[in-house]
């Protein structure tokens, strides 16, 4: 039978009533850890400050463009005399960058650092958030109170309007007639009576490699220029030119006497002068031709003109020039150009007015999309029969790949900056640098910008 009892009295006698006054390992450890760990933390901070300068204060890694200035916080964080704070001001940014305004009548201009957020890691500073744009464009206000653009855009996916060129009532303003459908048919008559199948890049290329299959001229392009073009991206398709893309098939012969010789692809006045010169030279060399009667041209069924008989060389030249111009303006030129009769004997040719950039306020890079077939986006091109057809892909085509969440959602970048620029770089002015390498890299004191 257990004789040990645990009465309160017995238990109380066991306890040293002053026990709390004596040191105990647990309390001792707690005390010393509470002293040493904060001291260690402070020591770590002081060491970091001593070794890396102000870098320890940095709230994050600098962007790629500014990473080189990591040691020199004072380049952006300028301390004014007598002030404690060293907040980043636009003045510090403008020391190196000119940044023209967006629009003259924008309601307010945000500070540089509002959109270009630093200390967010090795990001591109121009990759601004949509919120930077929608801060205004979600409820667009202008100084004159009249927004000239859609006033409620919140993102590329939300409320972004269809591209301006595709909105109702818009058409291709080109003065040159072109039927894409016909040009993409098989077995077209090509240069030198060969049968060809044309493809889009026979006429449309972002980078001019110098040779075009249906042109008459080879433009020598230096390999270095090609490389420069590749590096720069060559975002846009150059507007087709007659000599590069058309002349191989669309020949400009004017008279059988001259074989395959062609008139220049130029203004009617130039063509007229060319014809006069040609026929004058011919009649000088062939005086007997005055009395020759032209055989009917079987290759030109439209030719219903009865050749006029000339009495002298001057008349002969005039008649032959008339015939050649009739041929050109009634058939050859008319095939592509819109000719307007005038009081002048020569017609007026409508300006070609080819659109080089369909999106005036946005940017696009064909080179970045080179892995895609042309018709993947320009799907209507193969069926387009009218010049007025706008073959720009619609916004829904872009949205198949581009989403605001971008790479995070396994999509292509879809934030505003991908296509739009805030700064109007046409207004940019050159900036004059003044820093030394030591000042940029951290070996020397940064001068405080004046003004």
């Amino acid at each position: 039978m257990l004789r040990r009892t645990r009465t309160t009295k017995k238990l109380a006698k066991r306890i040293d009533l002053q026990y709390f006054a004596h040191p105990h390992p647990f309390r001792t450890w707690r005390f010393w850890l509470s002293v040493t760990i904060p001291l260690f933390a402070l020591g770590w901070f002081i060491t970091q400050r001593a070794q890396g300068g102000q870098k320890v204060y940095s709230s994050g890694q600098l962007s790629r463009a500014h990473a080189v200035f990591t040691q020199q916080c004072g380049l952006c964080h300028v301390t004014q005399a007598g002030e404690f704070t060293a907040h980043v001001t636009d003045k510090a940014c403008l020391t190196c960058h000119d940044a023209p305004l967006h629009h003259a009548n924008q309601a307010f201009a945000p500070a540089c650092s509002t959109c270009h957020v630093e200390h967010k890691g090795a990001v591109l500073l121009q990759s601004t958030s949509d919120a930077a744009c929608t801060e205004c464009h979600a409820r667009l206000r202008t100084r004159d109170g009249q927004p000239h653009y859609v006033a409620t855009i919140t993102s590329f996916e939300n409320k972004h309007p269809e591209f301006a060129a595709l909105r109702s009532g818009k058409s291709d303003p080109s003065g040159v007639r072109l039927n894409h459908y016909v040009h993409l048919q098989p077995n077209l008559m090509g240069p030198n009576n060969t049968r060809v199948q044309m493809t889009c890049d026979d006429c449309h290329r972002a980078i001019d490699m110098g040779t075009w299959p249906y042109g008459t001229e080879t433009h020598p392009v230096a390999l270095n220029d090609v490389h420069v073009s590749l590096r720069q991206g060559n975002a846009y398709m150059a507007p087709p030119e007659f000599t590069k893309q058309c002349a191989g098939c669309h020949t400009l012969q004017f008279d059988q006497r001259f074989g395959n010789e062609q008139v220049p692809h130029d203004k009617p006045e130039v063509v007229h002068a060319f014809l006069l010169k040609k026929f004058e030279e011919y009649i000088l060399a062939h005086p007997a031709a005055i009395h020759e009667i032209d055989p009917p041209n079987r290759q030109i069924p439209e030719r219903a003109r009865i050749p006029k008989a000339a009495h002298n060389a001057s008349e002969w030249v005039q008649f032959r020039v008339d015939d050649a111009e009739w041929l050109l303006y009634a058939k050859t030129c008319k095939q592509c150009h819109t000719l307007t009769p005038t009081t002048d004997p020569l017609p007026q040719i409508a300006k070609s007015n080819l659109t080089a950039r369909w999106m005036a306020h946005a940017e696009f890079d064909h080179h970045a999309h080179r892995m895609m077939s042309c018709t993947a986006c320009h799907a209507r091109a193969t069926d387009s029969r009218e010049t007025t057809d706008v073959l720009l892909p619609g916004i829904q085509t872009c949205r198949q790949c581009h989403r605001p969440q971008g790479p995070a959602k396994e999509a292509a970048e879809g934030r505003c900056y991908e296509c739009h620029q805030y700064h109007d770089w046409t207004e940019a002015k050159p900036t004059k640098g003044g820093f030394t390498i030591q000042q940029l890299r951290g070996g020397a004191k940064v001068p405080v910008p004046q003004g």
Partner: protein, 306 residues
């Protein structure tokens, strides 16, 4: 501290505060051109609020040091410590826009992670373990007194063994000359029981002393000593059972006491282990909290400057 219905106000207050902070954060982070960041007006609000909470939470130590301060009940301070400390971490996450930032802020965030997690772990331990301890350790004592009590147990065990041995040896000394002679010639003249018994008592006494010296005292005097035979309840029972067979029934109560002493020692060891778990987190939580407060103050000054 038991987290019970008395925490209801603090709990709902904290949850409501956190809900408001979250409701403000979501549109702010979605619409802010710069994303959520500490330097914005709302970001600063989160940061300042959380820092004030952290200071209050850190003052609990001072409040405990000076219990006579008339600045609210200790329990209220403890509840405030618990809930404001809990809420301050999400506020700091909102403050930094869920980014850990640069070197100093990253260090601060990791410190906070350790402090917060250790705090939650500690709160959970403090909630569940005391009840478990009470149920499991009826013989527990004040933790700081365990060493002292252990010494007392060793002393008590020594006395008990001495008492038992004396009793055994006293029986031997009270035996008659004839019994002693019979004992010496045991097995030749009969009276085997008495003779063997006398011899056995002396042997048991020696064995008991040896048991005290070799097993009990080393076990009682050493903290822990789980690897020793007496540290295991089953083995201890078997050992005492052997002595119970050898000792006369009237001395069994002494054996029971000795066994009880060992049981108390086992419970003290267990209490010691549980105490280390119950309070060990404080060795991480408190020092890191001070380091956090110190560096947070540095961060506040630096943030104001830059």
């Amino acid at each position: 501290m038991l987290i019970d219905h008395t925490h209801r106000k603090w709990f709902f207050g904290s949850i409501a505060g956190l809900a408001v902070a979250t409701a403000a954060y979501i549109p702010y982070s979605l619409r802010s051109p710069q994303e959520a960041r500490g330097g914005s007006a709302l970001g600063l609000t989160y940061g300042i609020t959380a820092f004030l909470f952290m200071i209050f939470v850190g003052l609990l130590g001072a409040r405990k040091k000076v219990p006579v301060w008339r600045v609210g009940r200790a329990q209220s301070w403890m509840r405030g410590h618990l809930w404001l400390g809990f809420v301050s971490f999400p506020l700091i996450l909102f403050h930094g826009g869920f980014h850990f930032g640069g070197l100093l802020t990253r260090a601060l965030m990791w410190l906070f992670v350790f402090v917060w997690v250790s705090g939650i772990l500690g709160a959970a331990l403090q909630h569940f373990m005391p009840r478990f301890q009470t149920a499991q350790l009826p013989l527990e004592t004040i933790y700081e007194q365990i060493d002292r009590v252990r010494g007392q147990l060793a002393e008590e065990a020594g006395q008990l063994v001495e008492e038992t041995c004396s009793a055994l040896e006293g029986e031997v000394s009270r035996a008659s000359e004839r019994q002693r002679a019979m004992s010496a010639s045991a097995g030749t003249q009969g009276g085997l029981t008495v003779a063997s018994g006398l011899q056995a008592n002396q042997q048991v006494s020696t064995q008991l002393r040896q048991f005290l010296d070799d097993e009990m005292l080393p076990y009682l005097e050493r903290a822990g000593a789980h690897a020793m035979s007496l540290g295991n309840e089953a083995q201890a029972q078997a050992m005492f059972q052997r002595f119970r067979v050898l000792l006369p029934p009237e001395l069994h109560s002494n054996l029971d006491d000795l066994e009880n002493i060992c049981e108390e020692k086992r419970q003290l060891d267990k209490q010691s282990r549980l105490h280390k778990i119950l309070h060990g987190w404080l060795l991480v939580h408190i020092p890191l909290s001070y380091a956090l407060l110190l560096l947070a103050a540095v961060h506040a000054v630096v943030a104001l400057k830059f």
